[in-house]
């Protein structure tokens, strides 16, 4: 044991650094590398489902090198390396870099929050910051949205995170509505029955919640019906684009017509001569 102590206390010839100091330095760095590898592997594993591979690798590397730098910083005093000078220089450099990369860091942190909070997923139809489309990718710094016109749009994550996000497909089903106008002389009950029959034939017009069709108002030009239909959130658009025309065709086949906008004008002379115009109901 005395031999080992003596050996560790031997000078390396560089200032007052002993072999023991070098071994301490090497040991701490080695432990740091092992911890970094374990943590980086677990970070990759934990983010398998949440991040694309390239970003997962990048994040794991960042974590890996931060831990190694930390281990080196802890070990350097054993080599009589004064960190205070480095800290001052590092502090100034950090301040400069911090100001320069403020928005990058903000986007990065927002990206991490987005990944963990999960308000949107790849493939979702969303509206964020006035942009509507489907999410193509959620990256560390930005979110890629393809608009319905097929336009590639990159939105910084900070903007996504701080904006109101509307996710159209977060819930399994969504509702849409049609306004259907029929003439006053048509039977509204029959129109409702026919519309209900047409809606029932579409597989994705959901059975439950059941569609609602009712007389909403008595308009200037006809009776206004409202049809409210639930459909799977990811398929509602195809249901919406198909059903309205089918309903209109079925109504017309049964003599129920959508009326044109119209005005009945009573001329003063005509009223004076006939005297029977006032109070006549609007039929068409």
């Amino acid at each position: 044991m005395p031999d080992l102590s003596a050996a560790l206390g031997m000078s390396t010839g560089i200032g007052t650094i002993t072999i023991g100091d070098v071994l301490w330095f090497a040991g701490i760095v080695a432990v740091g590398v092992i911890i970094a590898k374990v943590v980086a592997t677990n970070v990759k594993r934990a983010l398998t489902e949440r991040l694309p591979k390239n970003e997962r690798e990048l994040l794991a590397k960042v974590v890996y090198y931060i831990i190694i730098l930390w281990a080196i910083a802890v070990a350097l005093p054993y080599l009589n390396f004064d960190l205070s000078g480095l800290l001052v220089a590092g502090g100034i450099a950090g301040l400069v870099i911090g100001f320069a990369s403020q928005s990058v860091v903000s986007n990065l942190v927002s990206g991490l929050f987005l990944m963990f909070e999960h308000p949107i997923k790849i493939g979702d139809n969303i509206n964020v910051a006035g942009i509507t489309g489907s999410v193509e990718d959620i990256r560390i710094l930005s979110t890629i949205v393809k608009t319905y016109d097929g336009i590639y749009t990159r939105i910084p994550n900070e903007k996504v995170f701080t904006s109101n996000i509307t996710n159209y497909v977060n819930n399994a089903a969504r509702r849409f509505e049609y306004k259907i106008r029929i003439r006053y002389k048509d039977d509204a009950d029959e129109a409702i029955r026919l519309a209900r029959e047409v809606i029932a034939t579409h597989p994705f017009a959901l059975k439950n919640p059941a569609p609602m069709i009712y007389v909403d108002s008595l308009g200037d030009n006809g009776i206004n019906l409202i049809a409210r239909i639930w459909a799977p959130a990811r398929n509602w658009w195809e249901v919406r684009t198909i059903l309205l025309w089918k309903i209109i065709k079925r109504l017309e086949e049964n003599g129920i017509i959508v009326p044109y906008p119209q005005r009945t004008v009573w001329l003063a002379d005509e009223e004076r001569t006939s005297g029977s115009g006032a109070g006549k109901s609007l039929e068409e």
Binding site: N171, A172, T201, P203, K207
Partner: protein
């Protein structure tokens, strides 16, 4: 129609036509069913065969869910009791190309209509294929290209009376069997509380000697993680 075919064949029954013909030297699969047609030219070895059998009824008009909800006449069941009833379920027909190198889904069709529903509330609920059935005490007669028979054993393990008017199943868990007369499956429903139940399928034919169907999720090489379905949004 159900079974295995080598080379050319032709099956026609009412609205359904399925054939594999050699047209201009090319082997061509054709199907016509209630107005819808489908055609593919097949390039396959001589050992390849076509298998036609009933499949999990959650694929048409397109694959949007794995769940099947069967609504039936409400049943009130005493705590601790079990009742076996028979329901009808919709049948979809799967056509598979099989060879030593693997299996491929060629076509899926149905002579029936489809309807979907939401099981649960709009926020948190799930989309399911919807079908309505009468409750039968014995195996009912069915038109086997449109409907199958489900033997459902309902067990009330809760300490309260339970009202049951629907059962939701995970389609990928379904074990379908067929013979010359019917398509059938055997299912269970364990009521845990008046609002929660667990459903599942039993891998056994309803009638001895029935042939087991090739399942779609196996042909599509989909790994099935969960078994059964937990009905959390009411019975």
């Amino acid at each position: 129609m159900f079974g295995q075919y080598h080379g050319t064949f032709r099956y026609e029954n009412g609205d359904i036509l399925v054939e594999n013909e050699r047209i201009d030297g090319l082997l061509t699969y054709r199907r016509r069913c209630v107005g819808h047609a489908f055609e593919r030219i097949l390039v396959a070895s001589k050992n390849a065969r076509i298998t036609i059998n009933p499949v999990e009824p959650v694929n048409l008009p397109k694959d949007i869910t794995d769940l099947l909800l069967i609504e039936f006449t409400p049943i009130v069941i005493e705590p601790g009791t079990m009742q076996t009833v028979y329901l009808k379920f919709p049948v979809e027909v799967g056509v598979f190309l099989e060879s030593e190198k693997g299996i491929e889904v060629l076509d899926i069709f149905s002579a029936g209509t489809q309807k979907y529903t939401l099981y649960g509330p709009p926020a948190g609920g799930v989309i399911a294929r919807w079908y309505r059935s009468v409750v039968y005490p014995e195996i009912p007669s069915v038109e086997r290209f449109r409907e199958g028979v489900m033997e459902l054993s309902i067990l009330n393990t809760s300490s309260e009376w339970a009202h049951v008017s629907c059962a939701v199943f995970n389609g990928v868990d379904m074990k379908i069997f067929y013979n010359g007369d019917i398509v059938a499956t055997t299912a269970t429903m364990k009521i845990i509380s008046p609002a929660i139940a667990e459903t599942g399928f039993i891998d056994a034919p309803l009638i001895p000697g029935m042939t087991r169907s090739v399942e779609l999720y196996k042909a599509r090489k989909i790994r099935v993680i969960g078994r059964g379905y937990l009905m959390e949004w009411g019975l």
